[in-house]
Symmetry: C2
Subunit: 327 residues, 2 copies
């Protein structure tokens, strides 16, 4: 079984790469991975046994090496994220659309359709979001180029799937935490930074209000779900191949309470709130999310705030038991 | 005022070209058209005064000539239609996506945002359609590559509009009638052929059932709406720049009754029905359509079956009065 990960040097990709290199297979029921190809501009600390393919996903030579042998599973995670895609439109377009469409075309050309897992984003929904809820029937109306680009590629992937050329699935990821504290293209960095700060006993000024509600998923749970997307049967997935993943819907207060369960009540005093209007509007007004399609297909969220925090910070154990379908 | 029409040799484009060449302006309230550029591979019988630009919309030189001077209004109608885009995927992709995206980029680069009217399609909705109705909140789930491609370009155009680089508007056209009786890429040719046959007193075997319900618009009314899209104020249009146009929701029986009003009851005996399962599923199960956004912005359908038939066949007068906002 040949497995390819693009964006393998990224926050989610590196964790997925590590997981697959360690286990040697996608799930107990799937064959051994014979070749694990990790694609990114830089794949630092790539695990032993993986084929590291460093280069620009936009380069024909890189695309060619990805497709030089048939893929059984390809995780296409490489992307220019929201903030960066807004600052440099051409860069975002070339990676998020042109290189992605080229990759789909290359994968579609192989004889047996590959399972292609595409990391889309809740950024396909613009702001303001519907006030009552988001569900599988919610019309995506992007208000960022990043979201528009992800949505276009969802549609293209669904068309390839309908034509039987790619066994494609696009999962819309919510905010994945906890990203390392470093400058990045992500406007939602504060969702991760608050956890790192509180875990380190540092004060944190939150740029959204304490009642700002967002959708969260830990990186570990995200990797669980990506692997599930790669292994779920066509019957379990059904016809809609682009959908929202389950996510925890939490206010910042509720997230902080999840930290309290691990680090004690004193962390409450470390947080003060100085809402930024733009961030509040972009990330702080998420309604409840209903994910019937993903639920039926066996995808799961983190269960509870404390579990989210535990997985997000790679704490040794979770406080509460939570055994989801893909746990 | 410089106005460009791509697809100007096509069924809708040629009528739009003729309309604008004759009137010399988009509406009584807009300036004289100083240059009217008609782009297509062939523009036969192009009216005097128009600049005929024959070539392939995919050629950089053609794109360059379109954008060599700033456009005030551009109608982008050039497309590979549904049946043809399914038969030749690469052709559809290159015209419906690549050339369209290149055109958008060229138009976006001019200093003052041009009003760009993009003819999208109800093909963005796959089949089966929702049973109760389609409205502005209906999630498009294309089941033809043509619809997927139109939808992707809607999303791209909306993103350019949001960024303030193109004053874009995408209107989803229903079945436009009455196309000339000739082989074409349109699977829905029967919607037009039945009118030509009955008007000529010929028998017609209808490939969908008498109760097959579809959405219809006459070519003349379509041109009315395209011109309205080019001239409506930003205030009238609002934020949602991609939407469904009003259309008459008629069964084939009701359409035939529209013909009866012009040609008498004997035409009923000319029709027999031999439904084709594929056509019936693709075109014959359209629910009512509610178009609140388009209605508010002043777009209109044909009013009644007899008016539809009259405009579709270019009969001299309509049987019933119907003065819509753009009539």
């Amino acid at each position: 079984m040949r497995v390819v990960i693009t964006g393998a040097g990224g926050f989610v990709g590196s964790a997925l790469l590590q997981r697959l290199a360690t286990s040697g297979r996608l799930s107990p029921n799937t064959p051994q991975i014979s070749e694990l190809v990790a694609v990114d501009s830089v794949v630092s600390g790539g695990p032993e046994g993986a084929v590291i393919l460093e280069g620009d996903i936009r380069d024909a030579s890189v695309q060619q090496r990805i497709a030089e042998k048939p893929c059984d599973v390809i995780f296409h995670l490489a992307a220019v994220p929201g903030g960066a895609a807004a600052r440099d439109y051409d860069l975002g377009w070339s990676v998020n659309v042109e290189a992605t469409a080229a990759l789909f075309a290359a994968v579609a050309a192989q004889d047996n359709p590959a399972r292609l897992v595409f990391s889309s984003s809740i950024g396909v929904f613009g702001v303001p979001l519907p006030k009552d809820r988001v569900d599988d029937a919610t019309l995506p109306l992007p208000t960022m180029s990043y979201g528009a680009q992800k949505l276009m590629m969802e549609i293209l992937l669904a068309d390839y799937a309908r034509r039987g050329l790619i066994d494609g699935i696009a999962v819309r990821l919510p905010g994945i935490i906890a990203r390392p504290r470093q400058p990045g293209g992500h406007l939602s960095a504060y969702m991760s930074d608050i956890l790192h700060a509180l875990a380190a006993g540092e004060k944190f000024t939150c740029p959204v209000s304490r009642t700002a509600a967002s959708w969260f998923m830990s990186r570990r749970r995200c990797v669980d779900n990506l692997v599930h997307a790669a292994t779920a049967s066509a019957e379990a997935l059904g016809d809609r191949r682009c959908f929202n993943l389950p996510a925890l819907h939490l206010t910042m207060d509720e997230l902080v309470e999840g930290v309290v369960e691990h680090f004690g009540p004193s962390v409450r005093d470390l947080v003060d709130y100085a809402p930024d209007a733009t961030l509040e509007a972009q990330f702080g007004a998420y309604p409840p999310i209903e994910t019937a399609i993903a639920d039926a297909a066996g995808f799961v969220h983190d269960g509870a705030a404390a579990d989210l925090v535990s997985r997000a910070l790679d704490l040794e154990s979770t406080k509460t038991a939570n055994t989801g379908a893909v746990a």
